[in-house]
C-alpha cells in the first residue's frame, strides 16, 4: 500500500512538473538557507578557534572590565606601570607587553590606507611569535623614547608599496611621519573577516603620545614560560592586579584574565550564537515553504475531487486516501529538502571561498534539515489530506 501510494505520488508530481517545482521552492530556499548558515557559521567558529589556538596555549590576555568584549564597563584602564609591575613581581613569564589600539589612516606618496595601529612593547613579538620578513623590530631605545618607527604587515605593504620593499621608507600616520623599520612575515590568516596582516605595530609610548594622547594601556599580553604554570600565574596575576587597583575583598575583579583556550571559547561562543540566530531566521522561511505546500495540496485535492470519489467508490478506505495525499505532500517536501541541501552545498563552498573560511560539511544539519522538511510535509499535508479523505463519495463522484 505504501509503495503504491508513493508511486501514485510520483505520478501526480510528474504530471505537473512546473507546479511541483514552484511548490517546493519555498522549502528548497528554507533548507538551503538553514544549512548554508550553519555550515558557514561552523566554518567561522572553526577559523576563530584555529586562529587563537595557533597563538599557543601559554598566552594570557588581561583586559579591564568584568567580561570579555568591547567597552569594559567603565573599569579604569591599565597604566604602563602596571605592565612594569607584572614583569618585576611575577616569576616564570616569557614575555609581557602592554598594547593599545588606535585606528588611523596612513599615507605613502599618493597612496593611503586606513588600518589598525597597535602600540606594543618589544616582548609582544616574542609572545605572539611574530617573525619578520624584512628589517628589524624597534630597539629598546626607540621604544623608551617613543620614536616614530613602525613594523608593518603584508597587507599594508601591498596597499602602499605594491611589491617594493618598504623598510626604510617614511609613511605619514595622521600628522606625524613614521619610519618603517621592519616588515612582518605574512600570516595569511583572517579571523571573521579581520585580516591579520593588516596591521601597523609601533612602540606603545609612540601610540600613547601621538595617537591616543593618554597613558592608557588597552590590554596586557603575557606569555607564560611553562604552560603547566599557567593557572598559578593567573592566580598571582589576579592577586597583584587586585592589590594595585585597590579592590576590596568583597568586590569583584574589574578586569579579566583570559588564557588562549578561554579566548577561543568566548570568540567561538559568539559566532555560535550568531549562527543559531541566522539559522532560526532561515528556519522561518522553511515554515513559509510548508504553507506553500499546504496551499497547493488544497488546490490539488479540489482538482482531483472526482478521482477521489472514484477511489472511495471502488474500495479505498479513508486512510488510503489520507495516506495517498500525505505521502504526496511528504514526497514533495522531502524532494525540496534534498534540492535545498544540494543548493546549500554549492552556496556554502562558494561563500566559504569568498569569505576565506574553511568549508566544514556538517552531516548532522543536512540530515536534520532533510527530516524537518519531511516533517513539514506531514504537518502541512495532513490538513489537505484529511479534507480529501473526508469527502463524501457521492458528491465527489458528481464533481467533474
Amino acid at each position: 500500500m505504501f509503495w503504491s501510494a508513493l508511486k501514485l505520488a510520483l505520478v501526480a508530481i510528474r504530471r505537473n512538473p512546473v507546479r511541483s517545482v514552484l511548490t517546493v521552492l519555498g522549502v528548497v530556499i528554507g533548507v538551503a538557507a538553514v544549512i548554508t548558515m550553519v555550515t558557514i557559521g561552523n566554518g567561522a567558529t572553526l577559523a576563530v578557534s584555529q586562529q587563537i589556538s595557533s597563538l599557543g596555549s601559554n598566552l594570557l590576555m588581561v583586559r579591564p572590565g568584568q567580561r570579555m568584549g568591547p567597552g569594559g564597563g567603565g573599569a579604569p584602564a591599565f597604566r604602563t606601570d602596571d605592565v612594569e609591575a607584572i614583569s618585576a613581581r611575577l616569576g616564570s613569564l616569557a614575555a609581557v607587553s602592554g598594547t593599545e589600539n588606535a585606528s588611523a589612516t596612513i599615507v605613502y606618496g599618493a597612496e593611503n590606507w586606513t588600518t589598525s595601529v597597535t602600540g606594543v612593547q618589544r616582548p609582544y613579538f616574542t609572545a605572539r611569535k611574530l617573525n619578520l620578513a624584512q628589517g628589524r623590530i624597534f630597539t629598546d631605545t626607540e621604544e623608551r623614547a617613543g620614536n616614530p618607527v613602525c613594523v608593518v604587515g603584508e597587507t599594508v605593504r601591498r596597499e602602499l608599496f605594491g611589491q617594493a620593499n618598504p623598510v626604510g621608507s617614511r609613511i605619514r600616520v595622521k600628522q606625524f611621519g613614521c619610519q618603517i623599520v621592519g616588515l612582518l612575515a605574512a600570516s595569511g590568516q583572517a579571523t571573521m573577516g579581520v585580516d591579520q596582516d593588516d596591521v601597523v605595530l609601533m612602540p606603545l609610548r609612540t601610540v600613547q603620545r601621538r595617537l591616543t594622547g593618554s597613558q592608557d594601556v588597552g590590554s596586557i599580553m603575557i606569555a607564560v614560560a611553562d604552560a603547566a604554570a599557567t593557572d598559578q600565574v593567573k592566580a598571582d596575576l589576579t592577586e597583584l592586579l587586585r592589590e594595585r587597583r585597590r579592590i576590596a575583598r568583597n568586590e569583584d575583579d574589574n578586569f579579566n584574565v583570559l588564557d588562549t583556550r578561554q579566548i577561543a571559547e568566548a570568540m567561538s561562543g559568539t559566532t555560535r550564537v550568531m549562527t543559531m540566530l541566522l539559522a532560526s531566521v532561515a528556519a522561518v522561511s522553511l515554515l513559509v515553504g510548508g504553507i506553500g505546500i499546504m496551499n497547493i495540496m488544497l488546490v490539488s485535492v479540489t482538482e482531483r475531487t472526482h478521482e477521489i470519489g472514484i477511489r472511495l467508490a471502488i474500495g479505498a478506505l479513508e486512510r488510503d486516501v489520507l495516506l495517498q495525499f500525505l505521502i504526496e505532500a511528504v514526497t514533495l517536501s522531502a524532494f525540496g529538502g534534498i534540492l535545498g541541501a544540494v543548493l546549500a552545498a554549492v552556496a556554502s563552498v562558494i561563500l566559504a571561498k569568498v569569505m576565506e573560511l574553511p568549508f566544514v560539511f556538517d552531516p548532522g544539519i543536512n540530515l536534520l534539515a532533510f527530516f524537518v522538511s519531511a516533517a513539514i510535509g506531514v504537518a502541512f499535508g495532513y490538513f489537505p489530506a484529511r479534507r480529501a479523505a473526508r469527502l463524501d463519495p457521492i458528491d465527489a463522484l458528481r464533481h467533474e
Binding site: 500500500m1 472526482h306 472514484i310 472511495l312 467508490a313 471502488i314 474500495g315 457521492i394 463522484l397 467533474e400
Partner: protein
C-alpha cells in the same frame, strides 16, 4: 434455502421502512418515503422510475454510499445503517462493485491499471493483481486493449473497462447506475448482454437503475419507484 439449524438464512439485501430526508426544516425534502425491498442472491433487478422518484437515492443507500434517515438496511443480516463510514467502506470493498453512467475511469491511466485499482486497495500483490485484471478485461472482451487509456477507447469500451474494474474483485453484488445511459442502443445491448452473462455465469447479483424499458427487459425482476415509494414489483421472466 435453510441453514442446518433449520432457521432460514437472511436474504442478501433487505430494506425495511427506509426513508431518506435531505435538508431540514422548511427546505426539507423526503426522497424515500418508506421502502421495503428484499433481494435474494443471484437476482438481476432493474430499478425504474421517473427522475426524482428516489431510485438513485435508493441505489446510493443499497451501495452503502449513503445511509437511510430511518428504517433498516440489512446486508446478509448485518444492519448497514448502524455501521460507521469506515465499516461501510469495508463492506463496499469486500462485497460491492460499481458501474456508473459516466464510466468514472481514472483519466490518463491504462485500462489495465484502471482494472487493477480495486485490487490495490485490497492489498493484492503486483503479479496477482495483473493476472486478475487481465482475466477481468478478457471477460468483458477487451483483450488487446489493456494499454489504452480511456481517451483512446469508445464509450462502450470504456464501460466495459468499468465493468471489468467492478468484477475484478469477484463481488457479491454489482450496482449499475444507468450503465447504458451514455451509449447508443447497439452498444447498450452489448453491455446488457455482458451483465446478463455475468449474472448467469458467475452468480453475481445485479442491481441496475435505468429509465429505458428496453434495457430493463434484460432483468428478471423490475421494481418501479414513484414519489419515493415502490409502486410495482414484477417478475418479467420465469425465475432461473
Amino acid at each position: 434455502m435453510t441453514t442446518p439449524a433449520g432457521r432460514p438464512a437472511p436474504p442478501l439485501i433487505e430494506l425495511a421502512g427506509v426513508t431518506k430526508q435531505f435538508g431540514s426544516g422548511e427546505g426539507a425534502f423526503l426522497a424515500l418515503r418508506g421502502v421495503d425491498l428484499v433481494v435474494e442472491e443471484g437476482e438481476f433487478l432493474a430499478i425504474m422510475g421517473p427522475s426524482g422518484s428516489g431510485k438513485s437515492t435508493a441505489m446510493n443507500i443499497l451501495g452503502c454510499l449513503d445511509t437511510p434517515t430511518t428504517g433498516a438496511y440489512l446486508f446478509r443480516g448485518v444492519h448497514v445503517e448502524r455501521l460507521d463510514r469506515n465499516q461501510r467502506a469495508l463492506l463496499r470493498r469486500s462485497h460491492l462493485g460499481f458501474v456508473f453512467q459516466g464510466y468514472h475511469l481514472l483519466p490518463r491511466t491504462t485500462a489495465l491499471e484502471n482494472a487493477e485499482l480495486p485490487l490495490m486497495y485490497r492489498g493484492v500483490s503486483g503479479a496477482e493483481r495483473r493476472r486478475m485484471a487481465l482475466a477481468a478485461l478478457a471477460a468483458v472482451g477487451l483483450t488487446g486493449w489493456e494499454t489504452h487509456t480511456p481517451a483512446e477507447l469508445s464509450g462502450g469500451q470504456q464501460q466495459r473497462v468499468a465493468i471489468a474494474r467492478a468484477i475484478v474483485t469477484n463481488p457479491t453484488v454489482l450496482l449499475a447506475d444507468e450503465p447504458t445511459g451514455n451509449l447508443d442502443s447497439e452498444m447498450g445491448r452489448e453491455i446488457m448482454q455482458l451483465l446478463v452473462r455475468l449474472n448467469r455465469e458467475r452468480g453475481i447479483t445485479v442491481l441496475m437503475v435505468t429509465h429505458e424499458p428496453d434495457m430493463a427487459a434484460y432483468a428478471r425482476r423490475t421494481v418501479r419507484f414513484v414519489d419515493g415509494r415502490i409502486q410495482s414489483d414484477t417478475n418479467v421472466h420465469e425465475p432461473a
